[in-house]
Symmetry: none
Subunit: 221 residues, 4 copies
DNA sequence: CATGAATGAGTCTTCATTCAT
DNA sequence: GATGAATGAAGACTCATTCAT
């Protein structure tokens, strides 16, 4: 029934959704919906709750595996962020609902901050710090305020554009993935020029290696 | 009256907006709204039309001034993208409406693509190419597919987060601005190591110089 | 302008007619209609008034021309009644409006009685009396109460059916005209007492027996 | 509820009827009306449907009873046609609604033709043919085209006038009934050639002379 | 005379919510 | 638990009418 409700809210937004339609989608009578959820608003909250719960969970340990080189962790992070994940569409819809109804349901925004934004930033920051400590990344740059957000933004924005423009007209995942990988490889490579050449090569490698993205669940938006 | 309608739609979304409320905001009678716009949908389209018309216009010539060094053009572009512009709130609201109602009003998405997305990407691409031609940027990297989008995404995402999380909890403009400026400076600087040191310094400068952003109108999202 | 109003009322009835549409049909502004007629109701009355005025006028002298044989007068009367007259469509529409709006505008019914019904009956009655006096018609039958109405009904009903069923499916004017002419010729012809007596008695019986009508369902209209 | 709707439509016509009033008459809430009928138009159609269904049914076998003399059958037919029947008022109102709304609801006219007009004409024609075959009626006259319609018209018109003018001012049922009965008795009686021949010739002449109708204005309805 | 912008009461219609079964 | 008939407040939309120009 929550699935049915999610679809209805996704299709028409909160105000446009009809309880009758929810019941029909679920194949039950209107009254039964009210048997479980006292009101439309309660149903909406429950739907959001149910959608938001199972996200993340994993993906956090990725960043805490100290043995992996930072360049590999970064690679993995980008793979995850740009991956075409199962259930991604639902997450995009969720993102849209939060954007659309965030004003009326402040808890949505609060939840987004806690469950998505903070965690994602924390992960990105951990990867950057890891690289800085191991000397793989230029420390000053990698630990600069705002760098984690800059790191995450392109992949998220890619999904937003995909949602807004449709699959066909949005920028390709692979293109942005490769471009960002190359950009980061050159920028984060530490200091001196000799490292440069290597850094650049590595960057090229990463850029190429990035495309066959591993399919594991994270939260892009 | 379109202003009143915009506010109402912004506050409640399409389905949640009330024609009566629009009339009240505009200080006129309900009937008069219908005198000018035959239906709620027509009003919504007119509002969007009116909001979308005056955007852009300028900002396009920025990227076509061949005499300016590419690093300066890039600096200016970031300044614009991260600037706290007048009318920005309206544009964010617009963005939110397009995200929320894009399904029901495909023209909105279409307009966004043409009037915002394509233009913004074109400008970013022009700056990158300019730098590549002048030898200021690493040509292969600067002209890589998807780089323009990667360049634009952080500033836009910054606004999206600001919209979703509120002024207080969103990442600061200045922080992301500086981080991205530094990142780009290191990444785009062409080849050799000697340039490196200078490039880094320049990057640092740019990062600092970026914060006192010039206040001119563009369209971040 | 009255023409325009007539068309509008004819097309949509009183409640369904719109003042704006009247103005448009007339090619003037809404306000001008109100300049001449203070309200929709007043306009409707004026339209009816204007439509009802020019009817009749002639046709009354027909029946008072004493020199013409009654059979000829009757023939002329039927010719007139069944004739496909110019302006007949308007009269049918008028009839329909009176049927439809007679409840809300009692004056319409009143006018119909005075200006149409009574005059028509008077004319028919005059023709019948004329024939009775000249010995062309069987006096008892021709002057019987209700005979004038029976005489008029078929031609009127023919128009009503035409209006209800459309030109194609309604009974033909010529057919009913000929049938009624033949019927009246045989019935009204005087004399033939042997057959007469029986026929008359039977008729009288039938007439009397008719009143205690059996109560079973049929379809009057 | 259909009853309530019928009353409302009867009282104010289609456009003038209010759904609220229908609900009030039925003693239910407005919403319940919409629970059963999706729109005003659907309700109207349902009302008409329900009204039109139970009409007729019987009355058809009347004309197929071969053992009864045609004069008796004719007598019964007139009795039925002029009878003050229960539910007659509803039928008159129905007739009025069909006249008034027939343009907007073509199905009404179609139904009237099939369910009322054709059947009634068929019955009248059967009676006339029955009389012709048994030698009770003059065959040529009784089977003449249009005779059935001429036979039915006065009784129907009597109801129409009653509806338009009110009970008090309309011609009496009994009067028209008796007059028509007498008329038919004399006209349909077979034979009587002396008087007959002249009368018939005159009739034939009139019938033929009728067609080239003079075009002058009168008022049929 | 003529216009049409402006008004707002009134209608149709929707839909969240209740409740007897 | 499960149903769906019933409710009525609320919202989109209409249109007769007014009035400044």
């Amino acid at each position: 029934m929550l699935d049915a409700a999610f679809e209805e809210f996704a299709a028409h937004g909160y105000a446009g959704a009809k309880m009758t339609a929810v019941a029909q989608r679920a194949g039950v009578a209107k009254g039964l919906v009210y048997h479980y959820y006292p009101s439309k608003e309660a149903l909406f909250r429950a739907v959001m709750q149910a959608c938001l719960e199972p996200v993340f969970a994993e993906a956090e340990r990725e960043a805490t595996d100290e043995d992996v080189p930072a360049t590999v962790m970064l690679e993995r992070l980008l793979d995850l962020a740009y991956a075409e994940r199962e259930g991604q569409e639902r997450q995009c819809i969720l993102f849209r609902l939060i954007v659309a109804e965030g004003q009326r349901f402040p808890e949505l925004s609060a939840w987004y901050e806690e469950a998505v934004f903070r965690r994602a930033v924390a992960i990105a920051r951990a990867v950057l710090r890891h690289g800085a400590r191991r000397g793989e990344f230029d420390a000053a740059l990698a630990e600069q305020e705002g760098m984690a957000e800059v790191l995450l933004a392109p992949a998220i924005m890619n999904e937003v554009w995909r949602m807004m423009l449709g699959e066909g007209r949005a920028p390709s995942r692979a293109g942005m993935h490769a471009a960002q990988a190359a950009l980061l490889a050159r920028a984060l490579a530490p200091g001196g020029m000799d490292a440069r050449g290597g850094g650049r090569d590595a960057g090229g490698k990463e850029g190429n290696a990035a495309c066959p993205a591993t399919r594991r669940a994270t939260s892009a938006p």
